[in-house]
């Protein structure tokens, strides 16, 4: 029944997460910023990193998955929280216009709808996802992925536009 949340003070926990992830995955570009452990990894090792974080280090909560379209490549941010003040932010960059990323639904079941949303909005496909349908838009009448930068809506309202 009970879930044991990680203990210890914030600083030591952050150190532990960073060390734990570094020792297993040999991450070079990683640091602690405030209460966040920031990690950059390649897309194929994302499930491995997240498995370590959840199973070994006890970071139980996946807050959200953000996709950013950097025209030509996609940047994915997995925000993990240990529910006690520390966060682990896993970043990965996928090249290409029609990217495929391994799914993390078998590690964090809550990623199910986050990944569906990312697929709907950006066309990022998740390999092994059990139920990859669109969340918001029509399944069959809407052929675009609207949050791509190539999909433009009519008005951009900035100061430049007003003057």
């Amino acid at each position: 029944m009970a879930v044991t949340l990680p203990e210890g003070d914030l600083g030591s926990r952050l150190e532990r997460y960073l060390e734990g992830l570094r020792s297993r995955h040999g991450l070079e570009d990683s640091a602690i910023e405030g209460n966040v452990v920031r990690i950059l990894t390649d897309p194929d090792s994302v499930p491995a990193v997240l498995t370590t974080a959840r199973e070994t280090l006890g970071v139980f909560h996946l807050s959200f998955i953000t996709v950013v379209d950097r025209v030509g490549s996609f940047e994915l941010t997995y925000e993990l929280m240990d529910l006690r003040g520390a966060s682990v932010r896993v970043k990965t960059v996928v090249e290409g216009t029609e990217p495929v990323v391994p799914t993390v639904t078998n590690i964090y079941p809550t990623a199910n709808w986050h990944e569906r949303e990312a697929y709907d909005m950006f066309g990022v496909a998740f390999r092994g996802h059990p139920d990859l349908r669109r969340t918001y838009m029509w399944q069959d009448h809407f052929d675009h992925h609207p949050l791509l930068k190539s999909f433009e809506i009519s008005t951009k309202r900035t100061f430049e536009g007003l003057r």
Binding site: N112, G128, Y136
Partner: protein, 396 residues
């Protein structure tokens, strides 16, 4: 559409065994070989909290499959935010989760302030917290009313909306609007509190605290039918709740004491004393008790805010033009429904490069397809009350 590099279905299933394989159920037939009924609930349905569509498969009155379909209120919030200037996104966030407008504004503003790295005057912080807690009252009390409405009792919702109407009149005096405030701005709040408002809020809060037990707790909890309809319905374990990424009352009703206000403190919450309300049962009744307890805690916070609020400016000195440097900002607040997080990516221009809202309704609603199967059809309504999603939130 997405090229050859995508794996086929067999390959995908060979690669990783999906953890949520319980989503896919075989054709259910009972021992007499009778088929199930497919039923479509919503989007226009009195109990669907807006525009949710549930595709149900019923075996008699028992639900064997529940598939939520969203998107009936998709308003392109994230795309529109990419095309607006930073301050002009705030009124759009108001329309996200329209029962927690203040929290949405607060979350977005925190994210932008994280980008800009600016200090907010303490009085503004106190006013923000004050308004957010009033908003929590105005959200939790109607949600209790909606729970009762969906169970079939019509009257509690009117008592709930009476209180909400009082909060709204306070909001109107402070911000000028009843629902869409645009009050919390980048660097502070729009205007100071009107001079007579603190006293009015105090009176309202005192009155609510005095009448809370009589108007809501006794009326609802004293009812045998309410207890029998909610106790043991939507039973959640802690593992399940954490696994599904729940936050807010659905998580706290299982006994996990997680509250962004304490665990990831923001604004002036560290200076205020209040408790995290938890319950151990993890059913609908427990979530109702958590909401009741949070209302009382909100009253406590409001009183402390009114006592501690310092004098001073309510707006930081900022240029007319907000143009953060390239980078990322995160804002995270405890909205009445759970963790509301905003992720803003800037490319150094007037408009955000990307805004991502993590809305609690969206995440908490995943619970439906997990726990509804096995319950009776009328149990869907209390479970909706347990999750308490808001259509504007899950559809963005």
């Amino acid at each position: 559409m997405l090229g050859e590099q995508r794996p086929t279905e067999e390959e995908a299933s060979a690669l990783t065994e999906p953890a949520t394989s319980r989503l896919m159920r075989p054709d259910v037939r009972d021992e007499f070989g009778l088929e199930t009924i497919d039923m479509n609930m919503g989007p226009q349905h009195p109990a669907m909290h807006g525009l949710l569509r549930l595709i149900l498969e019923l075996d008699g009155e028992t639900v064997v499959r529940c598939d939520p379909v969203m998107g009936y209120l998709h308003r392109c919030q994230e795309k529109i935010a990419e095309n607006r200037m930073y301050p002009a996104v705030i009124p759009m966030t108001d329309r996200l989760d329209y029962f927690a407008n203040m929290h949405n504004e607060h979350g977005y503003v925190l994210a932008v302030e994280d980008l800009l790295d600016i200090e907010v005057p303490p009085r503004a912080e106190y006013i923000r917290v004050l308004m957010c807690e009033l908003m929590r009252l105005a959200s939790h009390i109607p949600s209790i009313g909606f729970l009762m409405l969906e169970l079939g009792a019509f009257t509690p919702i009117l008592y709930a909306f009476r209180e909400r109407e009082r909060v709204q009149s306070i909001f109107e005096a402070v911000t000028g609007a009843r629902m869409m405030f645009h009050y919390i701005r980048i660097g502070g709040v729009k205007a100071d509190l009107p001079p007579e408002i603190p006293e009015q809020i105090w009176k309202f809060v005192e009155n609510l605290e005095k009448n809370f037990k009589g108007d809501f707790v006794d009326l609802i909890e004293g009812n045998e039918i309410f207890i029998s309809r909610t106790r043991g319905v939507g039973q959640l374990t802690q593992e399940k709740a954490v696994e599904m990424g729940l936050t807010g009352p659905p998580l706290r009703c299982t006994g996990v004491d997680f509250d962004i206000r304490i665990d990831y403190p923001y604004s002036v919450y560290p200076e205020l004393t209040f408790d995290i309300v938890t319950d151990t049962a993890g059913d609908v009744e427990a979530s109702y008790r958590v909401r009741i307890g949070e209302c009382l805690q909100s009253i406590r916070i409001i009183k402390q805010c009114l006592e501690k609020i310092p004098e001073g400016a309510v707006m930081a000195e900022l240029g007319r033009r907000i143009r953060p440097a390239e980078g990322e900002g995160f804002g995270r607040v405890e909205s009445p429904r759970g963790e509301f997080a905003v992720h803003v990516v800037s490319d150094g221009s007037d408009t955000p490069y990307r805004v991502h809202y993590r809305d609690p309704s969206f995440v908490n609603m995943q619970l439906l397809q997990e726990i509804v199967p096995g319950h009776y059809l009328p149990d869907i309504m209390p479970i909706m009350g347990l999750v308490d999603p808001v259509s504007g939130g899950w559809d963005k």
